[in-house]
């Protein structure tokens, strides 16, 4: 099968970017980052909402894309099923919320907390992974599922630190005074910042993929026993995947909290984990760019397309359709996407470059 190929660049550029992958990523993100706001001004899209609203939507879609890329490290690269990924996202968010809001009266600046968030995420990833990664893969799935359930529960109940159901509001915005000012009304600084973070994560993950660590993940995913007998310490290697995935979620969680200026347990439910998982499965497990694109598309479908469909239908006042809230369909769509993709196209819409036997080959001997 032919891979859907990217637009053909001149040969010289292609060879250049093949040798300088990171610069290629940077160039791609800059191109997309400029193109999206421009595209959103084109008639069919421009009429839907204002430029600022579009920029906001792109920012959140990028958060989602980073999440999917992080989860892809765990699922797509190392072949471990993590069903509680939102918990790490929550950890980052709450870390920043507690350390930079008037709730406890601590006001640490954004940038060091961002680094701290990465560390916290990685630590919790290791803490959760260490006892469970020795187990068979499906037990890991249920443990992460439980963890994903326990973290919001803890956030709900540990009121002294998290303010319970109400969550923590009034979180500080990032400070970068001489250059830009982050305000609630201006989405552009957040947009630029998230693009920067996205670039960083994509470069990191692509570099990891080609490193010794990434190849070890791949070997484990394809055949754990063979990997182990080839001298890979599978437990350490899986822990690394888990920690990297958790750190990425926590990293973007910090940004998410700073962007929304409020965190509450309800934001980090099972739905977040499943929608991220759907993005990974749809995009194509193991393909960093595909997964990011999958997340982007899913987010835009659920938040723009379904919303507009609602408005359109109510404007047309078609009797039966008017009563249907199309936004309610999105969760069912996630479930259907997971099942249908696994049955029909387990490699995803954008398959990974190196063939992943784990997802595709239907005749793997047991």
């Amino acid at each position: 099968m032919k891979r859907p190929s990217l637009p053909k660049l001149p040969l010289r550029l292609r060879t250049y970017f093949a040798a300088h992958q990171s610069q290629g990523v940077l160039a791609a993100v800059v191109t997309i980052g400029v193109a999206l706001p421009l595209l959103s001004r084109v008639p069919p899209f421009g009429d839907l909402q204002s430029l600022n609203a579009w920029t906001n939507a792109f920012t959140i879609a990028a958060i989602y894309a980073v999440m999917a890329i992080g989860l892809n490290v765990v699922i797509g690269m190392a072949g471990l099923l993590d069903l509680g990924y939102a918990a790490f996202f929550a950890l980052g968010g709450y870390t920043y919320a507690i350390l930079a809001s008037s709730f406890l009266g601590i006001h640490l600046p954004f940038w060091p907390v961002l680094i701290f968030g990465i560390i916290i995420g990685a630590i919790f990833g290791v803490l959760l992974g260490a006892p469970t990664l020795r187990l068979r893969g499906d037990y890991l799935a249920i443990v992460t599922l439980g963890f994903g359930e326990i973290v919001p529960l803890t956030l709900l109940n540990a009121e002294a630190f998290t303010n319970g159901t109400r969550g923590i509001g009034g979180i500080d915005k990032p400070q970068l005074k001489p250059l830009v000012e982050f305000t609630l009304t201006n989405p552009w600084p957040f947009y630029l910042l998230v693009l920067g973070m996205l670039t960083l994560v994509v470069i990191l993950v692509l570099r990891l993929e080609d490193s010794k660590i990434g190849r070890a993940w791949e070997a484990i995913r394809e055949d754990e026993l063979a990997a182990e007998s080839s001298g890979i310490n599978t437990v350490i290697s899986k822990l690394q995947a888990f920690a990297v995935g958790a750190a990425i979620a926590s990293f973007i969680g910090v940004f998410n909290a700073a962007k929304l200026t409020v965190v509450s347990p309800g934001q980090f439910g099972f739905v977040v984990s499943v929608s991220t998982l759907s993005a990974v499965v749809l995009g194509g497990m193991g393909n960093v760019v595909g997964v990011g694109a999958g997340a982007f598309v899913i987010y835009l479908i659920q938040n723009i397309f379904l919303k507009q469909l609602n408005i359109l239908v109510s404007q047309l006042s078609i009797p039966v359709l008017m009563d249907i809230d199309f936004l309610k369909f999105q969760y069912i769509l996630y479930g259907i996407a997971l099942v249908v993709m696994m049955l029909r196209r387990p490699q995803g819409i954008f398959p990974a470059r190196r063939r992943i036997r784990t997802f595709k080959d239907a005749e793997v001997p047991k």
């Binding site: 006892p131 187990l135 499906d138 799935a141 309610k328 369909f329 479930g335 239907a362």
Partner: protein
């Protein structure tokens, strides 16, 4: 001489377990009764019956195809709604039924319909989402399972909304037996009796019938049993029929006893019942039943100690502890090859 020694060892081992287990269970129950009082004790036993019935479905499916059926908790959730639908819409009952013949007839109708509908739904899920992936790598059916779980939850939410519904409690809650000062609801007795009957029936079914034997051999070695003439697809389908049917029974019992439901109960109950299955030794039906009761005691114990909000966290911690230190569970599992 040398040849007889192992045989005797096996026998003493078995004798010990036969005598020790009931003794331990009785002692445990006595301690719990003394500690939490009859009211909470009955709560725990009844909750345990529900968990045990759900856990059986997890353990049977895991035993036979080594899949954590994430959708199973939601199958239970759906069954509570089916029970509600059958009692209030088909039978038109809103309140307790006091006439004994009418009550029995209604209970039987609700039971048969709920269990039947759930069995069919469970088998259909297997047919659509799991069977095509039987030879696929492990990750694939796990992902479809989580997808099915999500679909079930949201279909229910889509149709009935995120509200908590009242399930008609047709079994009278004021039929009580007085033991000294404390009131013992007949409903408690009924619920536990139903659960234990079903558990025993399942044990007999798997150990005595041809289909039961087919299920056990398929769990042990699918290819070998296929060569021996076992119809694998049919056997696995029957496993799902029974497992989901038991979840249906759990849903009915839950409705009768707690009298309410919403679209989210499947997730938590499923996680707890899975913990019960792991605790008892996954793949081991008697163990799953035992685990269900233990989990219920842990949860109610947390309530008694005043940690009711942390019950879920305690159960989850137990899951991790068991997976790490004793992955084969209390009674041992027959699929613990590389747990």
């Amino acid at each position: 001489m040398a040849a007889t020694t192992p045989v005797r060892q096996v026998r003493t081992e078995r004798q010990r377990s036969v005598f020790v287990l009931p003794l331990v269970i009785t002692a445990f129950l006595a301690v719990m009764l003394a500690w939490m009082g009859l009211g909470q004790f009955l709560n725990a036993i009844t909750l345990g019956a529900v968990y045990a019935l759900i856990a059986l479905g997890y353990t049977m499916v895991y035993g036979i195809i080594e899949l954590i059926n994430f959708a199973h908790g939601d199958v239970f959730m759906v069954s509570t709604f089916v029970t509600m639908f059958v009692t209030s819409t088909i039978l038109g009952q809103k309140d307790a039924i006091y006439g004994l013949p009418q009550l029995l007839l209604s209970l039987i109708i609700v039971f048969v319909l709920t269990v039947g509908i759930m069995a069919v739904i469970g088998a259909a899920i297997e047919r659509v989402a799991y069977r095509p992936l039987r030879r696929a790598p492990k990750l694939a059916p796990l992902i479809t399972a989580i997808g099915v779980s999500f679909i079930l939850q949201n279909i229910i939410q889509f149709f009935v909304g995120p509200y908590t519904y009242n399930v008609p409690q047709i079994f009278p809650r004021d039929w009580v037996i007085m033991i000294g000062e404390t009131r013992l609801l007949l409903l408690n007795v009924f619920v536990v009796a139903v659960a234990i009957t079903l558990i025993v029936a399942l044990q007999l079914f798997t150990s005595r019938t041809r289909i039961g034997k087919a299920m056990r051999t398929t769990a042990m070695d699918r290819d070998a049993s296929s060569l021996m003439g076992v119809n694998i697809d049919r056997t696995i389908m029957i496993t799902f029929l029974i497992g989901s049917g038991l979840a249906g029974a759990a849903g009915m019992v839950h409705g009768l006893y707690y009298g309410n439901t919403n679209f989210q109960i499947g997730f938590q109950s499923g996680l707890k019942a899975f913990t019960a299955a792991v605790m008892g030794g996954i793949g081991n039906t008697a163990g799953a039943a035992l685990g269900g009761f233990i989990i219920a005691f842990v949860e109610v114990g947390a309530v008694v100690l005043g940690f009711s909000r942390w019950g879920g966290a305690v159960v989850f911690a137990l899951l991790v502890i068991f997976l790490v230190f004793r992955p084969t569970g209390l009674l041992g599992s027959h699929t613990g090859d590389r747990a």
